[in-house]
Structure formats: structure tokens, C-alpha cells
């Protein structure tokens, strides 16, 4: 086996040193009836690298890669161009094969990167402090709701109906067990987000209001208004963002009054990867909330010679110290994805992120204009960033499947996201990024036109 360095000679010498007659003697504590006699049945025997690569390449070939066709899917996962140097850096063995930086003297690479990452997220979100990452946007969203409960000592969360349904489901799943109450609005199919409806649900028992920005339908709710309403009742505003590129064009949630900002970082540096690993982002506007945050935090300090350095800190919030009293059970997070994000964001910088956002918006406007004039197609949104909702005369679920057969990936149907809402069956979410070409847009328009004719 190419990954196993011991030779049979080594094994014999080692067993002799240990004083064991054979390797079976080392498994003496395992009841014999629980030990398998030979290699387990049901798995093949070992295979050469070439054979394995061929097998996996064959499976990969059975998927339609996003970049190989006109592609408009979004709904919380976006296809963006990632510079080649990002992947080069995350493949450096020193980053890729390191563990959590528990020994800071020999982990400054990871630690300084995390400090830079936290700083980038804090600025992007308009917050004071960000943590060193969560699993993904949806789990970060639940952790934010749980944190709001700890901060406010209340357990009623008011959730926008235009929060990504998967995120809503994750929160509801957890709430079933923790006893938190979830008041969620229905998705309102209208040009503007239903701020009034949301605000009307806030009461004195409300721990938090959860709003997505841009929302699942691509709309841009006025956060300031909701923040004021929440704060007046002593509730926190949690803002969820699933497209960080948008923040190069729109005002950050923190600046608009959000108390906790969470989101999905996949757009920057990480890639689609069929849903994971992704990158959960988590930040708080007010530094006094830091000790209620979940997840790892990297902080600045000095070494014995006074040199600046970085360590994991405030770990008394965490499970490995506080056990059942921890702020979360999270241990392993998304370190390498955080690195990818941070490298990509460093390449972009203020200037690049703004240009990237502008280019996304420019192309999305073209797409919206091109598609919304088709017969049987109506644009829902008043405003949007790089994703918008089309209302089709027909079942969007079926249309998406039909166009896939014609090698056009048209978007995400609202019917798939909201299976219990037949009234949304005509809805199609269309995402446009800098990777979308005008030919792609025209291909989608032509296919839709034919389908709806």
C-alpha cells in the first residue's frame, strides 16, 4: 500500500520490541466475536492510483459542470471566477495538512491568516468582531438565533418569509429540540420585501428578527427600518447574507443596525462543490457581545520577546474548556475555506470587490431586461443585486428540468425551495455573475421563449 510506510521487516521488529507475537495480540481487548476474520466483505481490494483516478473521473464525467453550459443557478450558492493563485495557496502543504493552531509558536501562518480573515469579515459586514468561521451560512444562522437567546434571555425568533427555506428549516429543526419558538412569515410574492408584516410580529418576547439581505427572491429590504423596530422591543436584528459579493455594492448590515450578521462565504474563493464544504461567516456589531459568540476567535498578543503574534483566545466560551456550558458545540470549522476566502478577498481588495460587484450588477440588469420582455415572463423585483425572480407562465420546476435536457441550467425554481407553496410554482430564481456571458443570457432567453411558446 502506497500510503503505508511500514515494511514487513519493520512490523516484525516492532512486534518483537513490544513483546507481542503478532498484530492480533494488540487487539486482545476486542471481543473475538466482534473481530472480522479477514478483509471486510462488500468493499473491493486496494487499487492503483491510476485505477482509482479513472473510476472517479468517470463519475465526475456524469455531472454537468456549471462552466460547461449557460448557467443561472444561485439561491445561496454562486458561481464566480476564482483566481488560480487561490488554489495554489490553499494547496501549500503547510496550510492544507496543518491542524487547528493549538500550538501557536508553530502555527502563526494559520493564526495570522485567521486574524486577517476576521478583520476582513468584520469590515465587510460593518461589524466589530467576526469569528474564525462556522460550517456554512445555514448553521451560522441557527447559531445566531441561539446566541440571541443567550443575550436577550428570550426564546422567540421572528423570521422573515424571504429567508432561504433551507436556512429556515435548519433553524426550525433545532428549535424543535431547544424549545425556542419560531414565528416565521410566509414568502410574499411581491416586488418589495414585506417589512411591515415582519415588524408587526415583533413583541416583547422576541429575542431576534432574522432577515436575509439580499433576500431569497433577490430583493433588498430596508434594514434600518427593521433594526429600529427590533431594538425598540429589545430584540436583536440578525441579518443573513448569502452573496458576499453584493456587499461591494450595497451598504453593510452592520452600518444599517444589524446586531449579528451571518452568512455564506462560498462566493469568494470557495467554489460550488455541490454544496460543501462552504464557509459560515459570523460577526457581531457590538464588541460587548463577543463572549456570547460561538466558534473560535483568533486574537493578537505578544511572545516572550515582545514580538507581535496571534493565538486562539476567549476559548472559555468553547466546548473543549466549558463542555456542557459552552456557547456552541462547534469544534472543527471551515479553516481552509476561510483561507481561500481571505486570499481571494486580498486579491480583490476594496477596488476589486467593488468592480466585481458592479460587473455582477451590470450583467444582471442586462439579463433582467432581456428575459423580462419575453412572452410569458414577468420580473418580480423592483430592485436586485445579481439575482432576481421571474414569474413564468408554467411550472418552473418542470421548465428547469426540461431546459437541463437542452443543456441550459436556467436557475432554481421556487417550487423546489417551497414545495408546500403551490402558488409559487411559476417562480424562477435567476442568478447572474461576472462569469455569465451575453451569449449565455441569449441562450437562456431563446430556450425560455421556445418552452413558453
Amino acid at each position: 500500500m502506497r500510503y503505508l510506510p511500514l515494511t514487513d521487516t519493520d512490523r516484525s521488529a516492532m512486534l518483537e520490541m513490544i513483546g507481542a507475537p503478532d498484530v492480533d495480540a494488540l487487539f486482545v481487548d476486542v471481543p473475538s466475536e466482534a473481530q472480522l476474520a479477514g478483509p471486510i466483505h462488500g468493499l473491493p481490494m486496494h487499487a492503483s492510483e491510476m485505477a482509482v483516478e479513472r473510476h472517479m473521473a468517470k463519475l465526475a464525467g456524469q455531472n454537468m459542470a456549471a462552466s460547461s453550459v449557460p448557467f443561472f443557478l444561485g439561491a445561496g450558492a454562486y458561481k464566480h471566477h476564482i483566481p488560480a493563485s487561490v488554489d495554489h495557496i490553499i494547496q501549500r502543504g503547510e496550510f492544507l495538512t496543518a491542524y487547528t493552531p493549538y500550538q501557536p509558536e508553530i502555527a502563526q501562518g494559520t493564526l495570522q491568516m485567521l486574524f486577517e480573515f476576521q478583520s476582513q469579515i468584520a469590515r465587510l459586514y460593518g461589524c466589530a468582531v467576526a469569528n474564525a468561521s462556522m460550517y456554512d451560512g445555514s448553521t451560522a444562522c441557527w447559531e445566531a438565533v441561539a446566541m440571541a437567546g443567550r443575550v436577550t434571555k428570550r426564546s422567540r425568533a421572528v423570521m422573515s418569509g424571504a429567508l432561504h427555506p433551507h436556512y429556515t428549516n435548519v433553524v426550525k429543526t433545532m428549535a424543535k429540540f431547544t424549545g425556542d419558538t419560531i414565528a416565521d412569515a410566509q414568502p410574499a410574492i411581491q416586488p418589495k420585501a414585506d417589512n411591515a408584516g415582519l415588524i408587526s410580529r415583533i413583541d416583547d418576547e422576541t429575542s431576534c428578527v432574522v432577515v436575509q439581505y439580499p433576500d431569497i427572491l433577490g430583493r433588498l429590504p430596508d434594514l434600518q427600518q427593521i433594526a429600529d423596530a427590533a431594538h425598540s422591543k429589545g430584540a436583536l436584528l440578525i441579518v443573513v447574507n448569502t452573496e458576499p459579493v453584493a456587499l461591494g455594492a450595497i451598504t453593510s448590515p452592520g452600518e444599517l443596525g444589524a446586531d449579528i450578521v451571518v452568512g455564506e462565504g462560498q462566493s469568494i474563493g470557495v467554489g460550488l462543490q455541490f454544496g460543501g464544504p462552504y464557509l459560515g461567516l459570523f460577526a457581531v456589531r457590538d464588541p460587548k457581545h463577543v463572549r456570547q459568540m460561538p466558534g473560535r476567535l483568533c486574537g493578537e498578543t505578544v511572545d516572550a520577546e515582545g514580538k507581535r503574534g496571534f493565538v486562539l483566545t476567549l476559548s472559555t466560551r468553547e466546548q473543549h474548556i466549558r463542555r456542557e456550558k459552552a456557547t456552541s458545540n462547534i469544534c472543527t470549522n471551515s479553516g481552509l475555506c476561510a483561507l481561500a476566502f481571505s486570499v481571494h478577498m486580498t486579491l480583490l481588495g476594496e477596488k476589486g470587490l467593488r468592480a466585481l460587484a458592479a460587473e455582477n450588477h451590470r450583467l444582471a440588469c442586462i439579463a433582467a431586461d432581456t428575459l423580462s420582455v419575453l412572452p410569458g415572463v414577468r420580473l418580480l423585483n423592483d430592485a436586485f443585486f445579481n439575482e432576481f425572480t421571474l414569474l413564468l407562465d408554467g411550472d418552473a420546476r418542470q421548465i428547469v428540468r426540461d431546459l437541463a435536457a437542452e443543456n441550459v441550467l436556467a436557475g432554481v425554481s421556487l417550487g423546489r425551495l417551497y414545495p408546500d407553496h403551490p402558488e409559487l410554482s411559476g417562480g424562477l430564481l435567476v442568478a447572474v455573475t461576472e462569469t455569465t456571458t451575453e451569449e449565455d443570457i441569449n441562450a437562456l432567453a431563446a430556450a425560455l421563449k421556445e418552452k413558453l411558446a
Partner: protein, 488 residues
């Protein structure tokens, strides 16, 4: 040379990408939300970026540089084939909500991996979506709670050994349970009698790590499981140490109801400086119906993704959804590639070599370091030592920092809590005998210094990129983000 922060090197006008200059006068459809103020993000050109991160990386220790003996963390070699496969466009450039007619190969990967995880654990069901080990624990405990609630049985307590990973009690608490300790025997295993005495109608589950965090196999696991089941409870097994038995022992044969598997430990997906992980959870028949969405089924028409839209009646007991999409696909491709590479014969060799390497270390060092359970027989995949015998004032931390100067990453320290000054050493199977001998020599040398009271150990490391860092200062006055307002 110290490496400056990106905020000190970069500025807001530099960028490492070439994008069209935005037309600032173009009309927009942002509905009045357009950004006015600067964000404050520094940019670097590509050469500066590559150099910054390359230099930073060189301040890290990593498996690629040497043995990484963190007990319970299973830091084994990460094959580069796995990285290559994960980057094939058919896997890496695939949207999670693409129509399933266009993702059959990806669904096949998830399905195949799920099948083999069931085979290797001898369990009938698996949930693939948990994002890491602790998330898997949560998944298992939620399934247990859902199953108990489904039979109207609102038990309140979860029992964990003192030696458990911190995630175990944290998870149980996160799922709304009270946590109580299970005592250990002097030889480092769960005290069966004490456990049996505690069982009762309020105990929902026990969470036991096996092999346990003392590096020992829980000989009485089957008896424990039977007792828990007899008392109406369920058995959660923490699978963090599955590498010791993979391919040789099936947890399903021991009475386990739920167990998570850290793909980033046993199946060699890279740790990446702290993640991403991946924590699929296998379930017994009792828990299978409560598994979370989504999952992949095989039908005559191909692979089907079962989620809210398609779950329908036959999955109505599912306790819900744990994450937005289908789990850590990038880790699935790597883990499956690793399994195909090793095969049934190779995986058996993996656990055997892992255990052999650990015992070799245990027996090579027990004369110089206190090994509390050495007389209990062989260890499994990790060897446990304590600080008994160190000179006055000398600590496990000092030994660890001294080991850094010898060119090695330290072992896990002060865990498990049941041994004073614990040192938990897990070499894994991907270390050669020569590498082990080098490590043993280094450990022996540092241990002898700790016993002799060599004060220079107190200020170690001396030869690392940094000297000992002030963690107290960091926590007392937290500086958690760059805050210089002078970025230009």
C-alpha cells in the same frame, strides 16, 4: 523577517484582479441600498499576495513536514490524488441545486460512500449531511431524542464519561439535555457497575468514545449497550477514534445506535488548519427512520436526492434538516478516493499499523514517562502518558514546548482530564519506523530534561518562529480585528 498584515501592506487602490472599471454614473437597480462609505479592505497585487501567503505558510507545522502526534486527532498523510479528484470540474464546479438529471455522478459518490460507511460499521443507515464531527454528534443525539419523543418518552439525561471529548457534553446540552458524568475504572475504562447503577427511566442515552480517549478499547461495550437498551436508553458512540479499528471491527456488532465518523480523521481528508471536516452518522434500525434530510436513494431510474420537495410520506419521521445542502461533497470525493485506494485489505492494514505504531511508542517510552494504563494491556491507536515523575514545577506544557525545539509538533496535552498532565500520542499508520524512532528519541530527551528539572524547558521553544506566546494577555485585552483607521 516578520510578515506584516495585509492591512499594513495593501491599500484600497491596489488589486490583484483585472476587472472593468465600474461606470460610477451608470444607473443601478439597488433600490437605494447602494454603498456610500468605504469598506476598508486592503488589496494586493498577485505577486504580493502569493508571497504574503507563501511566507505565512512557512510559519506553520504540518504533516507534510513531520510527524504530528496529536492524540484523538488522527493526523495522517493526505494523499494528493484525493486533492486532484476533488478538483475535477464534474465535482468542484457543480451546483447543489442543479437538476438531479445533471448530477448523477455526484449522487453516485454520495451513495457509494454511504454504502461503504454502512458496510464498515455494520449499521443499516447513515446520514451524510453533518458538516463535522461535532455536527455529527448533534445529528446522532437529535435522532435519539426524536426517536424517544416519537414513543412519547421525554427522558432528560445524557451520560458521558469524564474522559469524553468536550464536544460530547456540549452537544448533549445544545440538544436540550442535562449531562452527567460516568465514572471510570482505575484501568481507564467505563465503570460498568456504576453505569448500570445510574441507568433508569430518565436516561436518554450514553455517549461513549470507543476506542476511548485513554487509547483503550472498551472491553465491556456490548454489555454497556445491552444495559442501556434494557433501561430504555440509546447508545451513542463517538467515532473519532474509528481509525484504530476500521476494517477489523464493526461498531454495529457492539450494540451502537448512532456513531459519527470523522472523514477528516479516519478517511484522510485534510484538516486544513482547523477544517473543513465531515461527520456522517451511522444509525441502528431503531434510529434510521429519524435520520435528517437530505439523502440519496438509488432507484431504477438512477440516483434520487431525497429532500423536502421529494421526501413525501416514506420519510415523514425525519427529524428535519441540519444544513442548507447535502453535506461536505468535497470531503466525500476525497474519502471515497481514499477508500478505493486502500480497499478492504488496505483498511485492515491501516488499523493494524496504526495500533502497532502506537504500541511501539508506548513500549519505547514507558520506562521514562509515566504510562498510567500500560499494565492494562496493549493500547489501541494512541498511547497515554502522565506527568508523574517530573521535577517540581515542570509541566506537560513545558515538555510540549521543548518538543517543538526538537522539531516535532507536540502531542495532545491535558486531555483526557482523568490523567494528571496527560499526554496523548497518536502516531497514525502513515509514519515509518524511522520517523517513530526519531520521535521517540526526541520525547525521551525532553522527558529526561523535565524529570531532571532543566529550567531551559520553562522558556521553550527557543528555535520556533516565535517564542512562547502570552495567551493570558490575548484573553484579558482581546484584540480580535485590525483596527487601524489609517488604511489608505
Amino acid at each position: 523577517l516578520d510578515e506584516a498584515l495585509i492591512f499594513e501592506i495593501g491599500d484600497k487602490n491596489t488589486t490583484g484582479v483585472d476587472l472593468p472599471e465600474p461606470d460610477t454614473n451608470a444607473p443601478n437597480r439597488l433600490g437605494g441600498m447602494e454603498r456610500a462609505a468605504d469598506i476598508g479592505l486592503p488589496g494586493l497585487s498577485e505577486p504580493e499576495t502569493v508571497r504574503h501567503y507563501t511566507r505565512l505558510s512557512r510559519q506553520n507545522y504540518a504533516i507534510d513536514l513531520g510527524l504530528f502526534p496529536l492524540g484523538s486527532c488522527t493526523m495522517k498523510h493526505n494523499p494528493r490524488l484525493n486533492e486532484k479528484v476533488a478538483r475535477m470540474p464534474g465535482f468542484a464546479d457543480l451546483h447543489p441545486m442543479a437538476p438531479t438529471s445533471t448530477t448523477q455522478g455526484a449522487l453516485a459518490v454520495i451513495y457509494q460512500l454511504a454504502e461503504w460507511l454502512k458496510t464498515l460499521t455494520g449499521m443499516p443507515a447513515v446520514a451524510m449531511s453533518p458538516k463535522a464531527g461535532a455536527h455529527g454528534e448533534l445529528c446522532g443525539i437529535l435522532a435519539i431524542r426524536a426517536a424517544l419523543e416519537a414513543r412519547g418518552d421525554a427522558r432528560k439525561v445524557v451520560l458521558c464519561p469524564e474522559s469524553a471529548h468536550g464536544t460530547n457534553p456540549a452537544t448533549a446540552a445544545f440538544a436540550g439535555y442535562e449531562v452527567e458524568d460516568i465514572p471510570a475504572t482505575p484501568e481507564g475504562r467505563v465503570d460498568l457497575a456504576a453505569l448500570e447503577a445510574r441507568l433508569g427511566p430518565d436516561v436518554a442515552a450514553v455517549m461513549i468514545t470507543n476506542p476511548n480517549t485513554c487509547g483503550l478499547f472498551e472491553r465491556d461495550f456490548r454489555k454497556i449497550a445491552d444495559a442501556v437498551h434494557a433501561a430504555g436508553g440509546l447508545v451513542y458512540c463517538d467515532g473519532a477514534n474509528f481509525n484504530a479499528i476500521v476494517g477489523r471491527v464493526r461498531p454495529g456488532d457492539l450494540g451502537v445506535d448512532a456513531m459519527h465518523i470523522n472523514l477528516h480523521k479516519t478517511f484522510s481528508t485534510p484538516h486544513g488548519g482547523g477544517g473543513p471536516g465531515s461527520g456522517p452518522v451511522v444509525f441502528s434500525e431503531a434510529l434510521a427512520p429519524f435520520a435528517p434530510l437530505p439523502f440519496v436513494e438509488k432507484t431504477v431510474d438512477g440516483y434520487e436526492l431525497v429532500e423536502e420537495e421529494t421526501a413525501g410520506d416514506h420519510h415523514q419521521l425525519s427529524f428535519g434538516r441540519m444544513t442548507a445542502f447535502h453535506g461536505q461533497m468535497g470531503m466525500f470525493t476525497r474519502a471515497l478516493t481514499y477508500m478505493l485506494s486502500h480497499g478492504a485489505d488496505g483498511l485492515k492494514q491501516v488499523s493494524e499499523d496504526a495500533v502497532l505504531n502506537a504500541n511501539y511508542i508506548l513500549r519505547s517510552l514507558e520506562d521514562v514517562l509515566f504510562a498510567p494504563y500500560a499494565d492494562s494491556g496493549p493500547c489501541m491507536h494512541e498511547a497515554l502518558f502522565g506527568d508523574k515523575g517530573f521535577a517540581e514545577g515542570m509541566t506537560t506544557l513545558d515538555l510540549a514546548k521543548g518538543l517543538i525545539d526538537e522539531g516535532f509538533h507536540p502531542m495532545t496535552m491535558y486531555f483526557p482530564l482523568v490523567v494528571h498532565g496527560a499526554m496523548l500520542v497518536e502516531p497514525t499508520e502513515t509514519e515509518s519506523k524511522a520517523a517513530l524512532d526519531q520521535f521517540i528519541g526526541a520525547m525521551r530527551s525532553v522527558a529526561e530534561r523535565a524529570i531532571a528539572g532543566d529550567q531551559s524547558l520553562k522558556t521553550a521553544p527557543h528555535y520556533a518562529p516565535m517564542r512562547r506566546l502570552d495567551e493570558t494577555l490575548a484573553a484579558r485585552k482581546p484584540v480580535l480585528a485590525w483596527s487601524d483607521p489609517g488604511l489608505v
